[in-house]
Symmetry: C2
Subunit: 243 residues, 2 copies
DNA sequence: GCATATTTGTCCGTATGTATA
DNA sequence: CTATACATACGGACAAATATG
């Protein structure tokens, strides 16, 4: 599908129906999530495009995608940067989380008890396995998946998308401090409790538990993040990387 | 700021800090909202780019922006089309509306009565003025603004953005049938009632009213839309327009 | 079913304005 | 203030897919 048959990240058009820009965006999204591109660094079109071996136009498409997901920040005539969340951003993210997550569970309370909890249970199991084997980064991932699956219970594609976007954004903040164990281990038990309560059919009580959960998590993360951003703050908004 | 000093949609760099692609996207967004580009039509790169006098690459970037707002649909090697919502889409939009709008009012019930209701009151006044003067299209706009302002009470930028996006999408469906009077006039009184109830400080009751409102609106629009889509359906996916 | 014309997808080269050293 | 680096936007090119006759 690409005109000049670029091989590095380009071909196999007939197999994958995604555009090259989307594939490049996938790569960059992973790099950001795993911290290879930490918040604050600039992604130069020349460098990144050179490494991946794609044209600037295509790369700009990818940047557009990630900018819309709020993972990158676009400053006019300055270029794109990995987003650095402010404390206000984190607060707003938790506002949205409370609104959506609690709202979904609240709707379940009205609908009735036959929920499909298998996917939710799987994330709890993943978290327990990760904890047993001291894989704290995986524990963080499982914890995030738990909340994604809570929202998935509403079976609303648009709600799922909003939640995915917000959680990916939150990961930017989590990555700035990452001590995954202290941040996530205490909440695993509460996830299990919420799951158990949902299994019993008492969605109203689960909603209360989730509300308290989010309140506690918000307090912990905001204080830790403000501290980290204040002391280790002012990460170089320059410092190109890539080549 | 543009290289070759394009005048039509190009210059005045020092004043407007937005890129040309965003400005072009603004124009197209308006054209879609006002129905000049109705759902289903294809936007040809050649035609639209020719009329607006911008290069193909820049136009494609605008298309990308609107595609991510779900106003355009991108079919591989076919071009971009103004989105045609399915009935499932409309159902999901109302799912999101109920979740967010009711959730926001529910949070107000916990927070306490000093809400800032001026902007909300203004939309009701706009609707009444539009009704008095038989400007049904403006009534529809005012009605949509009412719900946007309800959500704005939460003072959450991300929630605002989600709501704006969802309402812009809903407008695609409303435009397919447009008999704005029958669709919007009955709800003006209910808007006023909800505003009055919020003024009295009883957010809990306002939430119930809003919930019933959305339920009724959903039923009406879904049935009307399914009918319209079934009979008048299969709008030409061809029929270029522009020049 | 086939040949042609149109349109899209991708990439390159270049000119110009903007921000920073 | 000058110089450098880079983002922005343009036009052109060609391959591939689609539409048209």
């Amino acid at each position: 599908m690409p005109a000049h048959h670029n091989e590095l990240a380009g071909d196999r058009a007939l197999l994958s129906r995604t555009s090259t820009a989307e594939r490049v965006a996938d790569v960059l999204r992973s790099r950001i999530a795993e911290g290879f591109f930490p918040p604050g660094v600039r992604l130069s079109e020349g460098d990144v495009g050179g490494v991946l071996g794609i044209s600037r136009n295509t790369l700009r498409e990818s940047f557009r995608l990630l900018t819309h997901e709020r993972l990158l920040e676009h400053r006019l005539n300055r270029g794109v940067f990995v987003r650095v969340l402010s404390v206000d951003d984190v607060l707003d993210i938790y506002r949205v989380r409370k609104l959506i997550e609690c709202g979904v569970v609240n709707q379940l309370a009205e609908a009735g008890p036959p929920f499909g909890l298998d996917a939710l249970a799987a994330t709890v199991a993943d978290g327990q396995a990760a904890t047993r084997e001291w894989r704290w980064r995986d524990l963080a991932t499982a914890n995030i998946h738990f909340h994604r699956e809570v929202v998935a219970l509403a079976r609303s594609p648009r709600t799922d998308e909003v939640m995915s976007s917000v959680l990916a954004e939150l990961r930017l903040a989590l990555h700035v401090m990452d001590s995954p164990r202290r941040l996530h281990e205490p909440y695993l038990a509460r996830n299990r409790e919420i799951l158990r309560t949902l299994r019993s059919g008492d969605a109203a009580r689960a909603e209360t538990m989730l509300r308290e959960y989010l309140e506690d998590s918000r307090k912990q993360i905001v204080t830790a993040y403000a501290q980290r951003l204040g002391s280790g703050g002012d990460r170089d908004a320059q410092g190109a990387r890539g080549a």
